[in-house]
């Protein structure tokens, strides 16, 4: 290999350094050594003999005569069962004081799954949360973000679902996490005995920005490997907005023309190539991705949630500690909710439509209008719905939740007021007395 050391850096900006070098490959790794230590870096652009490198630990402290050595291969992470229970940084280095992991070295950011090899998802993930199980069922191999804002219990929700879901391996990718949140997640998994089936790639808010970029790729590469070996893997990524912001920072350093609010034009493709790793391998394992996307300014049209929504198979809106029925969506729900119980879809549609009417009535009420008979019914219904279905503390299996749905409907309405098909009414409507 061209094991030459270079000692002349031409340009340093943000975490990107530029030098003259020959025979360097796109995406090749390099080792950059300065008086402050050694960091990996990767080639992100080649222009004649000018090579741009992204330095994982950031360029702080790198001097024009720091040493750069190219390693002749792209970024890889080690893979073996020994990863379980361990914590790494984005570059794949242990951050739990444990030893380096030996094992097969796998390339990150590998190619896409051939669509012809995919199968239609078919297995429901039971969470015990009615707003998910009944209204927006989560499905094995789904990719789904939680849209939320700072201060909402999204990491708690993530952790709760992770525990409830019966998966073989959990891969937790943290990006720009507050250290406390990192410790919370770790302790939660540990306390509940899930740590020994978990691999963590952690980037906290105080770590170098480029390592943030590597977290999803490292997490998903490892997940993919476990999945092809027959494991059902759940990947938790929090917070993808930090990942997008890291991309933005690099793009601006590289003087790329931004498309929307400073984000690079390929934001959609970048996010998609990660989320599309969610898959159910025919005759093998699966990858389900649950992510957190915080919405700057609680604005769903912000480029990050907006592009995410176009990519993922739905989203859970977490607002005021509850999963909102409007805006929340599981695009895969119809793959499974026809096979759970015959009233599942009816309850799902009816209760949401009535809840929408309840919201309208609330508006009227706030304007000080008279409440008609119908409005009174809706008010009663809406309050029960919020308290007994929407509240996140509710933890009941799907079937119980469906029964409860009928019970609430019958308590508030006459059958024909619900718009439920007559057949269903005859079968399920609770008999008086």
């Amino acid at each position: 290999m061209h094991n030459v050391a270079y000692h002349r850096i031409e340009r340093i900006a943000g975490s990107v350094i530029t030098l003259r070098a020959e025979g360097v490959a796109n995406q090749e790794l390099a080792q950059v050594t300065s008086s402050f230590g050694t960091s990996l870096a990767r080639v992100i652009r080649i222009d004649g003999d000018m090579v741009d490198l992204q330095v994982f630990a950031g360029a702080r402290g790198i001097s024009t005569d720091s040493e750069v050595r190219f390693l002749g291969e792209p970024m890889k992470v080690p893979y073996s069962e020994a990863l379980l229970g361990r914590v790494f940084n984005g570059a794949g280095k242990p951050r739990d004081n444990g030893p380096e992991v030996d094992g097969e070295r796998i390339t990150i950011g590998g190619p896409s799954v051939n669509p012809a090899k995919r199968i239609i998802p078919k297995t429901m993930v039971r969470t015990g949360i009615p707003m998910i199980d009944v209204f927006n069922t989560l499905v094995v191999s789904q990719k789904l973000p939680i849209f939320s804002i700072a201060g909402e219990p999204y990491n708690e929700l993530l952790a709760r679902i992770a525990l409830q879901a019966e998966v073989d391996v959990i891969v937790l990718g943290g990006m720009g996490l507050k250290h406390d949140d990192y410790l919370y997640l770790k302790d939660f998994l540990e306390k509940n005995g899930a740590l020994n089936r978990t691999v963590m790639f952690m980037h906290t808010a105080s770590d170098p920005i480029v390592e943030c970029l590597l977290v999803p790729d490292a997490s998903l590469a490892v997940a993919e490997k476990f999945a092809t070996e027959g494991k059902n893997v759940l990947v938790l990524l929090t917070d993808m907005t930090n990942f997008a912001d890291a991309m933005k920072e690099i793009a601006i350093t590289m003087e790329q023309i931004p498309s929307n609010r400073g984000y690079p034009g390929d934001l959609y493709s970048q996010l998609a190539s990660r989320y599309e790793k969610a898959v159910d391998f025919e005759g093998s394992g699966s990858i389900t991705i649950l992510a957190v996307t915080t919405m700057p300014g609680d604005d769903v049209t912000h480029p990050v949630p907006d592009n995410t929504g176009y990519i993922t198979e739905g989203q859970f809106y977490l607002r005021k500690g509850r999963i909102e029925p409007f805006g929340s969506l599981s695009r895969l729900k119809q793959q499974v909710n026809g096979k759970t119980r015959s009233d599942h879809r009816t309850i799902m549609n009816t209760m949401i439509q009535l809840y929408a009417s309840y919201k309208e009535t609330l508006e009227k009420q706030s304007m000080g209008f008279n409440m008609s008979n119908w409005d009174q019914k809706l008010l009663k219904y809406g309050q029960r719905f919020e308290k007994e279905m929407m509240d996140l503390s509710v933890n009941i299996p799907l079937e119980k939740a469906l029964d409860l749905g009928w019970e609430i409907l019958a308590d508030c309405f006459a059958p024909e007021e619900t718009g439920i098909p007559t057949k269903m009414i005859n079968e399920y409507w609770p008999k008086k007395g």
Partner: protein, 585 residues
């Protein structure tokens, strides 16, 4: 002679190449990647690329693959050919990527993952087709004329004079009927200059050029029904027309296209899954072979062709995928067939253009899209249309593009450029999808310039009721229900009724999912009668309860088979109840 060159720069999927002899714009080239295989041996992998800009003695190429590992100095081999597709029997039922690689075959060779640099022939080479000659020696023919036919599923596939042949040719010989593979020479042609041409059953055509081997373009004149009430009745589409379905994420663009792909009254459906979720294509891929097409009695897959370049597949091939799709559509149009091209989503293609434009450091237009975005979009939709072929028959390509506007805001460049060129706009609304009013096509904002299957005067009246209903509802928000007259209130209830039982359609109900043109005519007439019936109610709550019940029974009516006994019974009870409240009674 095709040129060769050397890489002098790599920036994402854009490479800069210094070339030796002439190269042409949009020419295909292969960048030679050297990498170590599993046994540590060096191997050379050709990465397909396309020239997109030429400056002095270097060219810029978009690479249709991941460029990891490319180096300065790596060789690039130009081919002298434009980016093209193969045309011939055996296209239908296939699943291709944006560059026309058959994905199931790739999976057989490479397993779960796509492998870069792996390219396969689009058409099977070993399959034999039953050829019947049509032309005979001595006939004078031009590009697009039929030399013979082969049956392809339920279709008669025309083997035509290659589209790129210029001028008149005399048929020297045509094969007798027989079973041939696509590469067999089935005819020999000669022109006035004495040049000869062997014709096989496969020809190639550059995707970015329209196929124009027809006599003339005609105005769309026949409705293309989708069995979706809100489309066929309110915003109809015609064979050879173009229309778009913009909408924010989750508003129902993809489900709508899936419905159209099942129920559209056309011969062939081409799905171009462009930069969206792979999972959605898989649904079609796995379900269509099992579904029966009532038009033919065969599986739906037999009339379907899928171009699948989903979001995690190489970005540059996304751009190619819509062109590949429309070229294949034009090919079948040349056989006198009606083809529907569904592209989901054209915004991803526009974004691919934007990514390249950014790397080329072109001066950006609005939202950093390139300045030529509008003309590129216009040129794409222009490839739709009805044509009269040289043998007098007609064929059509209808194009539906879904658009994914950033933030769901239609004031963005891709939506706006599309609206300028299409004949119908089916705008999907977040408000309606949040309320689960599917298909979430906005009944007041959308428009169509085409004629449909229902008397347009009556449709206009129905729309009027919808608009009035919205007005009353808005007013009620200000003055409350108590401040609204009972007559206005009934208008509001009628508009909601029309919305619930006619505009909305349950895609997941076996029967309601598809509403035939015949049924639409029948049901619209009945609903129209109800809307026009003056009604009397003692108070608003009575009116509301009446309409709630009426809505429920009409929805039940939608869910039973047309013309069944149940259908008749329900109709009777619906009208009996309407009679009770009729002011004329």
């Amino acid at each position: 002679m095709a040129s060769i060159g050397k890489i002098i720069g790599v920036n994402g999927n854009l490479i800069r190449v210094k070339f030796e002899s002439a190269v042409s714009q949009n020419e295909v080239a292969y960048a030679k990647l050297t990498q170590k295989n599993k046994d540590g041996k060096s191997e050379v992998i050709p990465l397909k690329s396309e020239v997109i800009r030429i400056r002095g003695d270097y060219a810029e190429l978009q690479v249709f693959e991941d460029t990891t590992g490319l180096k300065t100095g790596d060789e690039v081999e130009f081919t002298g050919e434009l980016l093209s597709v193969e045309l011939g029997p055996g296209l239908l039922t296939q699943v291709f990527d944006g560059l026309q690689n058959p994905l199931p075959k790739l999976a057989e060779e490479c397993g779960f993952f796509l492998q870069r640099g792996k390219y396969l022939k689009a058409l099977p080479r070993d399959k034999k087709w039953a050829f019947t000659p049509v032309a005979k020696a001595g006939d004078v023919v031009v590009a697009g004329d039929t030399l013979g036919t082969v049956p392809e599923g339920v279709f008669t596939h025309r083997i035509m004079v290659p589209f790129r042949l210029l001028g008149k040719w005399t048929v020297e010989s045509v094969s007798a009927a027989g079973e041939f593979t696509v590469e067999t020479v089935v005819a020999k042609l000669k022109n006035a200059h004495g040049e000869t041409q062997d014709v096989t059953m496969v020809q190639t055509w550059p995707v970015k050029m329209p196929i124009k081997a027809y006599e003339e373009r005609l105005r769309p004149s026949k409705p293309l029904t989708m069995q979706q009430r809100i489309i066929d009745t309110f915003f109809p589409v015609m064979q050879g027309g173009t229309f778009c379905t913009p909408g924010p994420f989750g508003a129902g663009k993809t489900v709508l296209q899936q419905l159209m792909s099942r129920y559209a009254d056309v011969d062939i459906v081409i799905l171009a899954a462009c930069g969206e979720r792979a999972g959605e294509v898989v649904e079609t891929l796995r379900e269509f072979p099992e579904l029966i097409d009532p038009r033919t009695g065969k599986s739906l897959m037999e009339r379907t062709l899928i171009i699948c370049n989903t979001s995690s597949m190489p970005v540059a091939a996304r751009e190619a995928s819509v062109y590949t799709g429309v070229t294949l559509a034009e090919y079948y149009r040349q056989m006198g067939l009606n083809v529907l091209l569904l592209a989901d989503s054209t915004s991803r293609w526009a974004q691919a253009l934007r990514e390249m434009s950014g790397r080329l450091e072109e001066i950006p237009g609005e939202e950093a899209f390139p300045a030529y975005l509008e003309s590129v979009i216009a040129a794409f939709y222009e490839r739709g249309g009805v044509v009269r072929l040289k043998d007098g028959s007609t064929g059509s390509v209808t194009i539906c593009g879904s658009v994914s506007p950033a933030g769901g805001n239609f004031e963005e460049p891709v939506t706006q450029a599309t609206l300028k060129v299409v004949g119908a706009f089916l705008g999907l609304s977040r408000e309606r999808s949040d309320q689960r009013r599917f298909p979430a096509i906005h009944p007041l904002d959308s428009w169509s310039k085409y004629e449909g299957i229902i008397d347009s005067k009556k449709v206009a009246e129905a729309r009027h009721i919808l608009a009035n209903g919205v007005d009353v509802n808005n007013m009620m928000k200000v003055v409350g229900e108590e401040g609204t007259s009972i007559d206005d209130f009934v208008i509001y209830l009628k508009s909601e009724y029309l919305d619930a039982v006619y505009l909305q359609q349950d895609a997941y109900n076996e029967i309601d999912a598809a509403c035939s043109a015949e049924r639409q005519k029948y049901v619209f007439d009945k609903v129209y009668t109800i809307l026009k019936t003056p009604m009397k109610f003692s108070e608003k709550d009575v009116a509301r309860t009446f309409f709630l019940k009426l809505t429920q029974s009409t929805k039940d009516w939608n869910r039973v088979k047309f013309d069944s006994q149940e259908f008749k019974d329900l109709e009777q009870s619906i009208f009996a109840s309407v009679k009770e409240v009729s002011a004329n009674a």
